[in-house]
């Protein structure tokens, strides 16, 4: 079957770009988390009050936890180190952000809806399941494996 052969040949070719696509997604995510992370550290008390007003329990502790995970996330995503481990808590942060802040505003980013945190959640879930790709410390240190 011609179409099937063509599709499989094409797949073999395009598979070479897997690690590039994962690298670009990692860098975009790291860039996206950079500003929110810094803002949380700079305005720690305001963030704590804000978390409290959203009904998040143990607001000071949760602020510390979130701000730490986000800034560590930026670093680890850039280097591709412990990628699977850091993406899972970041996914949880995105989920909480959607539920507490964005969900009532609908989908669209224009209304502060859950569009962008959803995209982040999806990128993170792809990285969690696929790993960081070959251009990463994970591959350098732990090997490709199977």
């Amino acid at each position: 079957m011609r179409l099937k052969d063509f599709y499989l040949e094409l797949s073999v070719l395009l598979n070479y770009f897997q690690s590039f696509s994962l690298l670009f997604a990692r860098l975009a995510l790291a860039y996206g988390f950079y500003e929110p992370a810094l803002t949380k550290w700079r305005n720690f008390d305001t963030t704590t009050q804000w978390f409290g007003s959203l009904g998040i329990p143990f607001a000071p502790f949760m602020t510390l936890l979130t701000a730490s995970l986000e800034i560590i996330g930026v670093l680890l995503l850039v280097f591709g180190l412990f990628t699977r481990l850091i993406t899972v808590p970041l996914m949880i942060i995105m989920l909480i952000a959607v539920l507490t802040v964005h969900l009532s505003n609908g989908f669209s980013m224009a209304n502060n809806g859950f569009e962008i945190p959803l995209y982040y959640f999806l990128f993170l879930s792809i990285l969690a399941s696929h790993g960081a790709g070959e251009f990463s410390l994970d591959t350098l240190i732990f090997g490709k494996g199977k």
Binding site: Y7, L14, S21, R84, V88, I116, L122, S129, F142
Partner: protein, 146 residues
């Protein structure tokens, strides 16, 4: 110890590869649906708009973009020719960034290139990884060769 944690998280999380690709496909398809429908509803003003941005053959390109987008919605949803359709959709995103969004900077709040960039990254991931197992691509082309 760290290597063990790495391997363990990898063994668990890589089971979710197809699920993460499915969710991302559905969300990207949803994202293209409204722009695609809007283009079809008023293709003439799209052509005028394209012309005003200096895109050559604006009428032809309006039809091309509108067709590719609506086809993309369909194919991404069912996961058919996923790698193939992702490529022209990426081109559309690049053109959108260059002609509309680049001058507004990064942030989506200022109509910057943030969201089209995320779409481009998702599409690049689809091109490189395919649609995953929950797709017609897998059923038609890949299943027996695995």
């Amino acid at each position: 110890m760290l290597a063990k944690i790495h391997t363990l998280s990898k063994n668990i999380l890589q089971n979710f590869q197809s699920l993460s690709l499915l969710l991302a496909r559905l969300v990207v398809a949803y994202g293209f649906l409204e722009p695609a429908l809007n283009k079809w509803k008023d293709i003439n003003s799209v052509a005028t708009w394209f012309g005003s941005m200096g895109i050559p053959f604006p009428t032809l390109n309006a039809y091309m973009a509108a067709s590719t987008e609506i086809l993309g919605v369909l194919l991404l949803t069912i996961g058919l020719f996923t790698r193939l359709i992702s490529i022209p959709l990426m081109v559309i995103m690049v053109v959108a960034i260059m002609t509309v969004h680049l001058t507004h900077g990064f942030s989506a709040g200022d109509n910057g290139f943030e969201i089209p960039l995320y779409y481009m990254l998702f599409l690049f991931i689809f091109t490189a990884h395919g649609a995953g197992k929950f797709s017609l691509d897998y059923l038609l082309f890949e299943k027996k060769t695995q």
